[in-house]
Symmetry: C5
Subunit: 366 residues, 5 copies
């Protein structure tokens, strides 16, 4: 678990650091267009559906994007990869998006937040997934632009938690095709939050494993293991906590883009977030409880060892002293000449030892 | 106490985990219908009463449920066991309940909450009971659907804290038969909260027992015992705290389903909850106080032992040195030939020992 | 101080426990009427006064209570002992008091609270007194029912802090006879809060005594003493904190039973409560400061002892080794035959000892 | 620093205790008039000024006080010494002051607060000064009664921080003579708050001195020194924190006695208070940081000593054992007869010692 | 890192101390004019721009400042060095600035704050930069006076973070030239806040370095290093936290000087501040986590050493005792005469040693 995981600040801090240096000095709202050959290929996929039909295209020309503005059906544009700023620029021009919003979409490392621009709603949050080989959380920024009948979602890398939504759209299962773009956004955010449950579960199973090991073996690197786990708990917290404010703002119901029907569903997401927050808090509290326990147990173990060893030493020191006395070379030491001197001294030694053992037993030190 | 109790995360976390994995991927509002042979048989019992009469039936056919909508009397439908989704579906259809509510009823592991849907009020909370053999809290989800003249309650397992209410209805004791469904809900929630007192009491008696043992014996596994108790305290807290928000919302008086007369009674429940919360907080504070005390006492004990042992060693080490000196084999050691050499050295040793003991006494080390 | 005091949860928790078990199962608002021979005799005393006159009666028949409703003068009914529910029932019937209020009056162990029922105001709080022989706080519930021109006060046991008020009424000192029942309630609550000052004072003098002992002697049971004191501090806090909310509600001035003139006086009580809260917080903070100090001092003492002892041992061990070398029985050990061998070795030993002492001194270990 | 300072609860608690016992039992609003010969002589000084002129008198007869009510000029009555209640009574009668206000003025030990009585404003706060010989804070209550064109200030002892204001009035420097009584009150409170800066500065220099000593020498009584300093920090906090509420209330601008022009100046005082609060918090945080540091350093030092000593002992113990073996008196011990036995054993001993030293070095224990 | 850095209170406290003593006694709003030859030369630079043109002058005569009031273009006056009060006085007279504002500009050491005076807006905040040689934060006060079409900025020393803004103005890049003075203020504050990111980054890299060293080597001065870092974290916090209130007040949108267009940009600054605050909190939490880890690791290391050493001692003590026994000089000790006595005893010793080692291994002590 710990061997494969990087130093623990890594996950929690890199997010913040990424856009720091590059940002300074550029005028606000500037987009970066990296040269081709960047790590992630850009991919745009458009889903158009109404209660009766559903289509999806791979968008390759900007002109294809004009479909997004078609009335009558709901359009979902899913943009993967953010290194090329041109598509963002085009969307910004076409839908009159504020440049700072576009910048926030591209600068992954944003704190989850909601911004209401009247015509459209901008939400950014963190999509977490579990990296099993490294046993740590992977975090990725997902942004949503919600308009009257379209939703544009942005993600950093291919691979996401939205496949179940895509299936539901394709197969027309549930309510999704008969509702508007706001319901789609709910569905996507619900999928994101549902995956937080999975993270909680993984963290809990790591916690349980850790607790058991600590209760049983008291591993040397116990504190380090707890640290690594704590980092993950913090990562989760950083993703979930700001979502509560977002949900509060949605539930206040001041925005006309989210219909009252969908608001009820967001209430459900709110509850899930509250549950994840509670579970996260609980994990944190239990971790600190186990840390206390571990330190107390380690120190108890240590004390027990030291006590026994010190007692052994304490028993032998007087005996050695007695032996030392009769090892002295005085000419006139009458005991040395007695026939029973030796056994008597051995007896004395045994008596002293037994007395001390009884004494320690009585004092409950042994 | 501790031997029978499971690892301590068990109770507090399993609740959350249960509905995690199963939920992901399903469209919101989907109900599960397990095959027959699930662990709990479904049982529906209907109580109908007005000030003058009272009847109760075992409901076996869906059509029997149409009685619920009868005017003029109060109906209480008590559903036990939630594994079969069909009855939930029927209720949902008949009373026009939001699918997310039905899902929340079935997915036990909800955070206590209140949702006001205008026509009906949805409340879910946790019913705690004390499992004496395992000496731990058992937690179960109870949900209420309150309409104008009916109340539907859902619980996971047979066996609950409502028998006293059933008696009161049957015997017509107190006000219950002359009030509406809202008063019935008050009575049921009051019963739930009253049982929290019992839990507090059990935890307190465990705490007292623990405190006494720790003050008297300082058991090796003291920290572990405190941990186990702390888990129970946390479990109670997780059930009680969210109830305060529920009560606040009820007391705000914005809902027409709860009459002003009944609101006064809910104020009483609020007070009880405040008392349980306070007792829980107190337990927590006292536990952390006792933990401090325990650790300080253990370390004091240890220090006392080490000090005495070290002092014994320190007294004998110089004596052994003196013996060692006169155990040397130099040819020219005049003291060895003196007649009173041996007694003199013994005297010297005694003098050193006495001096050291007096010195340690003076320094208050002994 | 500590010898006479019971286990420390006693005072703080018994309050809560008392009414737990007995309450469960009874319909809300049920009063208990214990058989005669209960521990406290019931006593009802009625004071009637107006600016010019003042009378007080011992009430023995229910019919006497009808005086309470007389217009023109202020009536104060002081009920002592709550085990017999009949008088409560009579008052409830006569003044149309809500049954839950009556129940709260009888179930001592309430959290201090205020409930405004329009016609009358219900306040319950805790009257603390100092039990000198046990050196601990005694806590008792006092409840007030304030009507337009009457005040009914309930207390658990004879003996209270109201004698000074009784004198002021009897002698017509101060403003009390020229004001209404609300001023009387202010005067009584002021007397209750003034006694909190006494408690604070006692706790402070115990604290000072404790601090001095700890600074001077570091008693073995220091942590235990602090614990006991902390319990008292918590008891005080539990009584005072909820009073702040009560005062806030009174000062909001929404109730017509409390005139504006009297409100100014309640502002004064508020200030006193704020002062007691602050003193309580201060005591708590200082206690935790002294605990830190104690633990640090104990561990410093221990370290000092161990260091000196270890240094003594460390000095003698090399000397003993040298003696051991010349105690070996090799035939060919030229030093043994030298005339100055013995003194030389003694000198070597002295040199080693002196060197080590200087070394330890230099390192500031000694 | 610590030798001259009293036990540390002294300063923070005596304030509260002073008026406790004396208050209980007296009707609210009673003033005390001590016999002459009390510790502080009463002194009343009246300053009357308008933009063009300025006079100050020593008031000796009550009739002189009637000047206070003169229109057209600002009057500042500065009362020093509160033991004689007659002047308070006279002021109360003349200006129709609420008796509780008079009581609060006399009972020094109030929590800083503001009370708005419409006609006049009552503010009480704490004037701190630095007692250099005892190196501790001296605290004194200052109260202000602000009317339309007069200000009455009360202080406990002669000597205050107002001399600069007196000079400014006398010399007509700054704005003070051209503004009303509210500006005067601002000027006085500003002087009080400015002196808090001095206290902060003194505490900081003590802190720096302490930190340096702790970093350098780790004095035995380090924890005690930190305690004493912490008390002073708490004393400051108790004086400053409630002032924030006072300032908030003034800034809300609901009182007609404080003109809008002066309100801007109070905003400045608010900022100063915020700065002092922040500095106080910082001191507190740094103190707890240094405490951590100190404890960690002391324990590191201790560990280092113990490690070296234990290692010395551990090296000599095997050597002593070898010497012990060849000190045995068996007849048949061939090594004893070897010519090179003795040097060989000495060599063995040296080898063991060197090996152990290398081993400990490698393990980084030495 | 630590060698070059001053005592850690330096940076955080000096700010506060600077203006304490000098302020006391002066009437509010007094400016200081130091004699020439003060440490920083005063420099005033005026930038005037409109969408089409841009000029900048070095202001040397007060009369030149009259340009500031010219309509039609935006003027930015950048004042460097605050020791000479004359220019402040001139600005105050010309623009009718409140004297307390001027005082706050000159008394560097203000808490960041915003004051709205209707005609102009006063904001003061802290500009942080990283001093690489000392590896610590440098803090400097920057104040802004925003009027309808001018902005005056004040800084203590030459050298700032505004060069990129100057370039953008000069080259007409981005939106800056086409917006008003409020946008300029946004740009400057954004530059200030963007530099906080750099500070965060530096602190993080120090943290990482520190964490790695602590995980690997456990340096003796680990706690001290953490302290020094914590001071920097506190310094950052003190600069950033009050900014949140400032941003909140700007975003409330009550001021007419900041247009709605610019408000959106301030929202962006708000987000950055939230991110810096979060990073700062994270650093703090991680530091305290690492401190726990460090202390636990150091104590574990220590325990491991002590255990091994104690075990070595414990094994040899019984062996030395056996040797001591056969070193006794009794005449009648039959074992001494046995031919195999010596080897037998050596064997016994080996057996005891092996037994003890096996015993310790079994107990997992070794």
């Amino acid at each position: 678990f710990y061997r494969n995981s990087p130093l623990w600040y890594d996950k929690t801090m890199k997010l913040i650091r990424k856009d720091m240096k590059t940002k300074i000095g550029r005028p606000p709202g500037t987009l970066i267009t990296e040269e081709a050959g960047g790590p992630w290929v850009q991919e745009c996929r458009l889903y158009e559906y109404d209660p009766s039909s559903c289509e999806d295209y791979e968008i390759e020309l900007f002109s294809d994007l004009s479909r997004l503005k078609q009335q009558g059906s709901v359009s979902w544009l899913n943009v993967t990869g953010l290194t090329d700023g041109r598509i963002l620029e085009w969307i910004g021009r076409e839908f009159d998006i504020h440049p700072l919003v576009l910048e926030d979409i591209q600068n992954t490392g944003q704190r989850p937040k909601i911004d209401d621009y009247g015509d459209y709603l901008f939400i950014t949050c963190r999509m977490l997934s579990w990296n099993e080989p490294r046993r740590s959380i992977e975090s990725e920024q997902v942004s949503f632009l919600l308009g009257t009948n379209f939703l544009i979602s942005f993600q950093e890398r291919p691979g996401d938690v939205f496949d179940i939504i895509r299936n539901r759209i394709a197969e027309g299962k549930g309510r999704i095709r008969s509702h508007g773009a706001d319901y789609l956004m709910y569905a996507l955010m619900d999928a994101v939050v549902d995956h937080y449950y999975l993270i909680v579960e993984e963290l809990q199973s790591i916690y349980e494993e850790l607790e058991e090991r600590i209760l049983r073996e008291r591993p040397q690197n116990g504190v380090q293991l707890m640290h690594t786990l704590r980092t993950e708990v913090v990562t989760l917290r950083r993703a979930v906590w700001p979502l509560r404010d977002i949900m509060n703002q949605i539930r206040k119901g001041e925005n006309s883009l989210i219909t009252q029907t969908t608001e009820v569903f967001f209430r459900d997401v709110s509850d899930h977030i509250a549950q994840v927050v509670e579970a996260d808090e609980l994990l944190r509290e239990m971790l600190s409880g186990v840390l206390d326990y571990y330190q107390s147990a380690v120190s108890n173990d240590m004390n027990a060892v030291m006590k026994v060893l010190t007692i052994i030493a304490t028993i032998f020191i007087p005996l050695t002293f007695i032996a030392g006395v009769y090892g002295m070379n005085f000419h006139w030491m009458p005991e040395l000449l007695w026939k029973w001197g030796y056994p008597a001294v051995l007896g004395l030694m045994a008596a002293v030892a037994v007395y001390l053992i009884i004494f320690f037993r009585k004092k409950k030190w042994l």
